[in-house]
Structures are given as structure tokens and as C-alpha cells.
Symmetry: C2
Subunit: 209 residues, 2 copies
């Protein structure tokens, strides 16, 4: 979440092929490391993103025609960076709104959309919001995050009720006033857990009591 929109971190290619197109961060797997270790290493080295709140594997692509020979196999990961973190970025790296992508290198546009879809799904049946939201937040702020990520209106009443019943959210007891223009101060909340927890995967045909 940057500037109240869902954004993805991209870097601009300085070499052929696809010079000038924008690319997802990543790199090669080194001997002796796992895929997750590898993507964390590349993120830290290339774009200084060391604090990824959530990282999960998306899919392994294997089309022989998807690029150069050594790129046939690529395992994609979805990583989420909370809204209040602002990692230092090199010159060629920027955040881009997911629904206004620039010219993307190779199949990275498709991969980005796949990541967005995974995020949408996870938000609905897990506490994945913790990985986008700051430590503490008002319900209105959380609602803005869900609206941006889901792409449709979200009722603040329902959001609060659902997340509270799930036990995903808890009030901090504090309130926060907003500068000029007034309004009742909003209660602050935090996510009870900062690890991914599936809350209701089997909404239908759940086991009887």
C-alpha cells in the first residue's frame, strides 16, 4: 500500500532484451540454498527490502518459450511489505500501482496479476491483512487497505464484525484524533497475530458440531 493504492515494486531493465521494460525483482538460485532463501537474498541485495511481512510461493512457470534458455524454470513468490515500511530503493527501482502497470518485461505482467489474485483470495479467508497494514491503525484505514487490495467497496461495519469474530483483530485501547476538519477520534486496532493464519477455509459443508 503506497499512496492509498496497491503498488508493486519493479525495476527498469537496463539491458536487452526488453530494455526499458519493467521487471519483477528476482534472480538465480545458488547451490545449497532454498528458493525462499534465494528470493530473500535477491530482495535484500537488489532493492533493499529486508522486511517482508509475508512471503509465499505462487507458482513455478515452465514454458520453454518464456524467455532465454536459462529462464525456462522460474518459481514466483508473493511478498507483502507493510504500508508503514519504506525501504531504501536504488535509482532504477520504483513502486507502481498494480492496476496501472507500465510496459512489463517478459511475462512479468501476468505474474503480477496472478499475485494480485492470490492476495485477494487470501484476504477473504485469512488474516493476511496484517502484512499490508501498519502495526496500529483505525478501522477506516484498514478499510482503505481492503478496498485498494480487493478492488471493490467494503463496509466498515462488516469488516470490523468479521475480523473481530475471527479473533484476528484486537483493540489497543488507544484512540487517535485526526488533524483539522474534526470528527470523532477513531479507536486503534492491531492484528492479534503477525503470522498467516487461515481462519475459515471450509466455509461450506463444515463439520457439524
Amino acid at each position: 500500500m503506497r499512496e492509498n493504492r496497491l503498488q508493486v515494486l519493479l525495476w527498469e531493465r537496463a539491458k536487452q532484451p526488453d530494455l526499458g521494460a519493467w521487471s519483477l525483482p528476482g534472480g538465480y538460485l545458488e547451490p545449497g540454498e532454498t528458493l525462499e532463501e534465494s528470493i530473500r537474498r535477491h530482495l535484500a541485495a537488489k532493492v533493499d527490502v529486508r522486511e517482508v511481512a509475508h512471503l509465499e510461493q505462487l507458482e513455478t512457470l515452465s514454458d520453454p518459450d518464456r524467455g532465454a534458455r536459462e529462464w525456462q524454470l522460474a518459481t514466483c513468490y508473493l511478498g507483502l511489505v507493510p504500508r508503514d515500511l519504506d525501504p531504501a530503493l536504488p535509482e532504477d527501482t520504483h513502486w507502481h500501482p498494480v492496476d496501472e502497470l507500465p510496459r512489463m518485461a517478459f511475462d512479468h505482467g501476468d505474474i503480477t496479476l496472478a499475485g494480485r489474485e492470490r492476495l485477494r483470495a487470501k484476504l477473504s479467508y485469512s488474516n493476511a491483512g496484517f502484512a499490508l497494514a501498519p502495526q496500529e491503525f483505525t478501522l477506516s484505514e484498514l478499510r482503505e487497505i481492503y478496498v485498494a487490495a480487493l478492488g471493490h467497496p467494503v463496509s466498515a461495519t462488516n469488516l470490523k464484525r468479521v475480523l473481530l469474530r475471527r479473533g484476528a483483530l484486537e483493540p489497543t485501547g488507544e484512540v487517535r484524533s485526526h488533524g483539522p476538519s474534526g470528527g470523532r477520534p477513531a479507536a486503534l486496532f492491531r492484528f492479534r497475530s503477525r503470522g498467516l493464519e487461515i481462519t475459515d477455509p471450509f466455509a461450506v459443508l463444515r463439520p457439524p458440531r
Copy 2:
């Protein structure tokens, strides 16, 4: 579904390491093929399973210690074979109940359980049942399949109501009597589609009308 239980196809290793342990079917990726083409080729060649109703990627494992050097990377797939298909199997290959696994080779036990979990989740928010059920079936038969796959009781009333409302099921108009012991003949149903369709991924916080 075999003998009214959820079973997985395994073959017995005839070589070290893990001689005598049971292993998931699979093999190496050849140059120029995709992962899905590869797993279909290996299934057809090794265990004569040519009719997989549904095949989806599970996860790519990458632990450097998960086996021999050339096995560090393995992409796992979940394949579902309908209950009425009975592929010819070679000597060393058998179906095994998923909740009574034999001694498994390497990490194949964990992979099997991961596949089972994925199946459980998919059954609840998609029409994945079509890949386990025969072409036509009674509601009782379908209920047996769901019970075996989900591992908990399922109400036939709710199953029918939910799948009909989703539009996943349709009555064939036929009925089928069961041999001796009587009982009202059961109406036959079929799945309206034989391709995977996500039916209700965003059960919560769905867009308002």
C-alpha cells in the same frame, strides 16, 4: 476413491536408497517440455494413468537436503482420477488409503498430506468433486465421496442444497434402484461442468450488490 476410501497411487522402490519404501509417481523434466507435459508423460509411461480429470500444481520443493543432489528441486502436482476409472497398473504399483500410508520414500509422505489438504480446501469452494465422482451418481454416492475426502460427516441435505444453488450439479432425470434390501430409488445427478470452476472464493466481504 477406491473401496469407498480416498487412496493415492504409489509404487514400491526396487533400488536404494529407501528400497522397499513407497514413492509417488514422477520423473525428470526433459528439455523442451513444460512441467505439466512432463508429469503427464511420466504418469502415462510409468503407471498407465492417462485419464486424469484434474491436474494442478501444488508446490516446488527446494530443500538442498531433501535427497540426492539432482532431486533438490521437485515440483509437486495433485492429480485426481475419477472413481469409475481403473487404469491398468504394473506389478510394483498399488492404491493406498491416504490415512493409512505405508513407509514412504523421502519426503513423499509430507507431499501426500499436502495434496490431501489442497483437495479438502478445493472441495469446499469449487466443483472439484467432478474429478473424483463418476459421470453419474446418486446423492448418497456423492456424499460418500465427500465424507472420505473431507474426513468428517457431511449432511446429504446440505450437500445437495449447496451444490445445486452453485449450479455445479444437475439432475439427469433418471433414477437408479439398488439391488436387494429395498429403498426408494435415488435420483441420478451429474456435474454440469467437467472443468474446475471456483464458485465462491470470497465468501466473506464480498462486493455489495
